[in-house]
Amino acid sequence: MRVIPRRTGVPWPLNAAGLLLVGYLVTPFLFGLVGLDARGLVAALREAASAGAIMTSLETATLSTLLVIVLGVPLAYLLARGEFVGKAVLGALVYLPLVIPPLVGGVLLLAMYGPYAPVGRWLGDRGIQITDAWPGIVLAQMFVSAPYLVVAARVAFESVDPALEQVSYALGKPPLVTFFRVSLPLAWPGILAGVPLAWLRALGEFGATVMVAYHPYTLPVYLFVRFGARGVGAALPVAAILLAAGIAVLAVVQGVLRRSAGRIVP
């Protein structure tokens, strides 16, 4: 990494402080890599419990992401283009799940959907179990991951030049047609960049899930259980799966962002 100091105008004391922080953030990954042994990883993945947790996590994270896309993209468009009283409040409400710890989210979901809570009891009377079942996992995952998709999609819609939508109106296309033929296609790359982030957040969700649905194990809960029972060494292989998913998503997102940037810049 060759830092060219003068042209960049970044003086060396700032470089030094910045690289110190990067070092702090990156070294744990190196130590984790060193601590991992390949045979242990394969053996851990072969266990039935691991395979079950992987499947549960993949299924629920994908389902909750799909639900979040279907509802979150329209919400993002409303926040990007709507003009109405209380828009700032609505925008802030969407951020709420981002600013509370997932544990608190779990408590709130339990206060609503728990077996002794109003909605949970009503649904339970009708044979629908939320807690300790996959609906609870999906609800918890949607709660924490929806803001990621909405924020990404809102930024994507806001970066579409409103003049393009106006010209489309002038050409006789009403709002719904304009949305599907102009706004959505142009915002799509940015929305796509938000999808893996929301999926990843759902996949890694622990604090709310551990409260709402301890069972069936998702990967993070399973990781916690293994760590509690068998220590760091046993937790590392499961951590490696989640880490690999994270790195893959990061690579995809950066790639998508770069490609879409290339498409927008003429």
Binding site: D161, A163, L164, Q166, V167, S168, Y169, A170, L171, G172, K173, P174, P175, T178, R181, V182, P185, L186, R263, I264, P266
Partner: protein, 352 residues
């Protein structure tokens, strides 16, 4: 026929614009911040006026009294803006086809080709907008706007991001296009040369209001206020007292210089503001009886020279076609008979 009467408060800015014209080509002209674009947005329906009425050829597009507000997608107006607004994910052909009026169903391809040929881009249907130059993009935008068979074409400084030689050609081609498609035009510009060339009626806006409406030649020769005078290039703006009034006009004494102005007489002794175009100030060899002046600065232009002269404490600007007198030389100032134009308001109006 275009009748506009709209007002709208936008933050601290108040738009209150009314005009009517029978002409086919209307230019909204004025400095930036005058409300030209906002007026155009009201016409297109992108912005709803607080109050007012908009009528195009017997069709009411907006009438606050009768609660009529035709949405933009039913106004049938073609819009071209300064920023390039082609849909970047569609080819040139698909962009033009996107706006095609329903009557062309089944003949899309032919119509698109006709429109692209009309704007001089016959073989470009399969290109992407990003592959075109700025001028070419605006040509496609014109074809796209015409595709919807608009009752009115609204152009908001469409050529100002384009280089000068290309811009000049785009303006001429626009005139030909309007003749061919017989569609009325409302054109926004801050460039008086462009307004003069394109407008049959020029509506001059300043600070959200209409300050003058007239033909290009009329507003150039008879600006009503100092603001307009500066905008149309009548840059000598002076104050003087009416010293004589006759049926043909009046004589104004500006101290170091005495001029004659036509029309709208004010009573003798009145302090008036007036303007003189630089072309109407002539510099001759100094002689008795003529107003003496000193050349203080020579500002060359392509084929012309603007000469600044000092007359007493006053600075005047003359525009000369031939060889200018040398810097610092003594000259005599003469003003074309009747070239002074009396203005409403004071001389400082519109200065920043």
């Amino acid at each position: 026929m275009l009748q506009v009467d709209v007002s709208r408060r936008q933050g601290a800015f108040l738009l209150d614009v009314a005009f009517a014209t029978e002409h086919q080509r209307v230019v909204l002209f004025g400095p930036s911040g005058a409300g030209k674009s906002l007026t155009l947005q009201c016409l297109a329906g992108f912005v709803t006026p607080d109050r007012g009425r908009i009528e195009v050829d017997e069709t009411v597009l907006f009438d606050s009294a009768r609660r009529i507000d035709v949405p933009p997608w039913r106004r049938r107006v073609g819009v071209v803006l300064q920023t390039y607004t082609l849909l970047p994910h569609l080819t040139v052909g698909a962009n033009v086809a996107y706006g095609l009026a329903p009557v062309w169903r089944g003949h899309e391809r032919v119509r698109v080709d006709t429109l692209l040929a009309a704007v001089g881009l016959g073989g470009y249907a399969d290109r992407m907008p990003a592959q075109l130059s700025g001028g070419q993009r605006q040509r496609v935008a014109l074809a796209q706007a015409l595709a919807s068979d608009p009752r009115l074409l609204l152009l908001d400084e469409p050529f100002s991001a384009v280089d000068a030689p290309v811009r000049e050609r785009l303006r001429r081609d626009l005139l030909a296009l309007l003749d061919a498609f017989r569609v009325p035009l409302v054109f926004v510009t801050h460039d008086f040369g462009e307004a003069y060339l394109l407008g049959q009626t020029i509506v001059i806006l300043a600070a959200g209001r209409v300050v003058q409406v007239g033909s290009p030649a009329d507003v150039a020769a008879r600006p009503r206020t100092a603001t307009v005078a500066r905008l149309v290039g009548a840059t000598n703006i002076l104050e003087g007292r009416v010293s004589d009034v006759s049926p043909e006009g009046m004589t104004i004494d500006a101290g170091v210089i005495v001029v004659r102005a036509p029309g709208s007489p004010r009573p003798r002794g009145d302090l008036v503001t007036f303007c003189i175009r630089p072309e109407d100030i002539h510099l001759t060899a100094p002689r008795d009886g003529a107003t003496p002046a000193t050349v203080t600065r020579l500002l060359p232009r392509n084929g012309m020279t603007t000469v600044l002269v000092s007359v007493g404490g006053l600075s005047l600007e003359a525009s000369l076609a031939g060889a200018p007198p040398p810097l610092g030389s003594r000259v005599a100032v003469e003003v074309t008979e009747g070239a002074a134009q009396v203005l409403e308001g004071g001389p400082a109006e519109g200065l920043e």
